[in-house]
Assembly symmetry: C2
Homo-oligomer: 390 residues x 2
């Protein structure tokens, strides 16, 4: 696993440079704080202060607050796969789901495959756990099953980590067929799949295909090899550090044991508040606002790239989530491009931060989530002054 | 390490039995929820909703909220050792401090020594990390340094885990001399000390000797081998899951890297609220109420034991914290005693749950924290009907 904290740290370096220099930043992986429903959440906390606060201050169930687990189960259910609350373990964001799955399932020296590119803080976990690994080629339809299978034939894996809907950083959306095929491969080659789904609800025009969690019902043996993790970080607020993990039934106790050792259980007042927020209809009312805003910004970024950079960049316009993933047709290194872009006061993250080895250095990630449309258009104009080729 | 989750699970089994059966329970390791300053905390949250809420909803520093780290630094400082905010990393309770220290410092097969008896959820972490270990004999003055040194001569250790002030379960208070000697041994035998200090502020009549963190200033080389962990679980509320870890400077980055992989950072609204709670004087005003209440209950339990059970139990009356640790002079197994006590509807935790091997089965733990004085007196009367000997 060719990862180092310094490599992952590029993201933080660029983000803090952007804060220092000012200008227009597409570097963050953050949701737009202006889109936090602060009033709705404060009202939800106040409902807890009226009823349930003292209980939320005490130790609670290791699996999390029962009523929130029921909300999460409903949110995760589809017509073909009803999730029940007892499958759900509340975690401190999806990150803790990745870390817990790794602690339960992998031992030093085990292999993990990820998408190319992939989420660096997942690589951080795999690196700390002493895993070996490699990234599997992806295209606009998601991970390429034939490439994964060829890799598995050379070297079996213990884990395969994927983000099938609007991934960070690629913004990729896996097709239904790819999803089903990778579930079949999990059974055939006996690995565990971690499905990380923080962006699945952030679709713009149409929902994504069903989650692997849902589709596993169609592939015998797949459910017991699938760990679904997600969070409210992108749909409510990341500062709450509230997410969840849905492991197979036979691993449930092992997950709870790791969770107990890690921090006993997740903080409760926020779990109570999120439940009350759902109960007041806040979540369902506010999610379309986030979708519409991000959708508008994604469209603006797509149009501005086409207008100013279309000849010089390869990209797939995302259908949800927060990111454009671009590649300079001229090749070259996006770190050099970043240095040039800094003079124009426009910021993004060089792609090398997102690979566990064999990085395509010509790639970079831009988030449209935190920049209003005017800024996006101006940012693309500035970028057009420094991207080579064309 | 002769630990199993089932053994640690005895505590939860007895606690849920007590809830089911009703009666008088000294089984919980919980603070009294009636002592949570719910109004003060709700006011603190509301202060956050007025100022800072949106920032608290966003991703933040991995080390935690700067202003809370400053509060914790002040709380942890003594005249001979000023702690600065940059030494402090906010964690999800002290438990995450133990887990993080273990992840940073220990590898499978490494040795850990603990007090006999010790905190089972720490054993849970050491067990999951694949450590070997043993418990070191303690007396009323804390861990016996000569026994620790003899053990170290036979088998060096990577970690020594201790709770020098009002430990769970023994309620023990280490003397100043013992503290200094164990710090010296850490340097001499090159191990890392985890000082777990969740109860240090819960003294009744006089504060405990300085923490190992403070005393390390007197022992050259000790600070770089000491990880101090603590939390607000017993002084504010455990449901907030807010604690901290103070590692040596040279391990700070490694701790932050593990924290990042585990859950990026701890939830922020609660960190902001605790800061505002301090700012409003709530913490300083309320802590004496908790001390006085627990002190009164401890005195009542001590008097009732002397009156009804004095001949039949060995114990050291605690000077702080939440626990009486007792041993039947007749020997025997406290699990059998528990079965008899259940018929009297009085509950406690058999001591076997608190040892990493070589358990003294005649011991048991009683918490006086959640039972008002009348209930404590009645509970000791009931217990007197079933404790053998005398």
């Amino acid at each position: 696993l060719d990862y180092s904290p310094e490599l992952g740290g590029i993201i933080y370096k660029v983000a803090s440079l952007a804060r220092k220099v000012g200008g227009i930043s597409f570097a963050g992986g953050y949701p737009d704080p202006e889109l936090f429903d602060a009033d709705g959440l404060a009202a939800a906390y106040n409902a807890v202060f009226q009823d349930g606060f003292r209980a939320s201050l005490q130790y609670g169930d290791r699996e999390g607050y029962r009523r929130l687990r029921e909300r999460i189960a409903t949110l995760s259910s589809t017509p073909e796969r009803a999730v029940t609350y007892d499958e759900v373990i509340v975690a401190n964001g999806g990150q803790q789901g990745i870390a817990t799955a790794t602690a339960v399932l992998a031992r030093p020296g085990d292999w993990v495959y990820t998408e190319a590119p992939t989420f660096p803080t997942a690589l951080h976990v795999f690196h700390q756990a002493g895993l070996q690994g490699a990234a599997i080629a992806c295209d606009g339809d998601g991970m390429i099953p034939e490439v994964l299978e060829a890799a598995l034939k050379r070297q079996r894996a213990r884990l395969v980590y994927v983000m099938p809907s609007y991934s960070n950083p690629a913004g990729a959306l896996w097709t239904l067929e790819r999803r089903l095929r990778v579930l079949e491969l999990a059974v055939e080659y006996d690995f565990h799949l971690i499905e990380d789904d923080p962006y699945g609800l952030l679709w713009f025009d149409a929902p994504p295909p069903p989650t692997l969690l849902s589709l596993a019902a169609r592939v015998p043996g797949a459910r017991e090899r699938l760990i679904h993790v997600s969070s409210f970080s992108k749909t409510i607020a990341p500062g709450l550090r509230t997410g969840w993990m849905i492991p197979p039934a036979k691993l449930r106790e092992a997950f709870v044991h790791v969770k107990l050792g890690t921090d006993i259980h997740s903080a409760l007042p926020s779990q109570y508040a999120i439940d009350r927020y759902f109960g007041a209809g806040g979540f369902d009312a506010h999610l379309p606002v986030i979708r519409a805003t991000y959708g508008e910004r994604a469209a603006a970024m797509g149009a501005a790239i086409r207008a100013h950079l279309g000849e010089r960049l390869e990209y797939v316009a995302p259908k949800g989530g927060m990111f454009f993933w671009c590649r300079m047709r001229s090749g070259g290194d996006a770190r050099a491009l970043m240095a040039a872009a800094e003079r124009e006061k426009v910021f993004f993250v060089p792609g090398v931060a997102f690979y566990p080895g064999n990085a395509d250095a010509a790639t970079f990630r831009m988030s449209f989530a935190t920049t209003p449309v005017d800024g996006i258009v101006e940012g693309m104009r500035r970028l057009a002054r420094v991207v080579p080729g064309g």
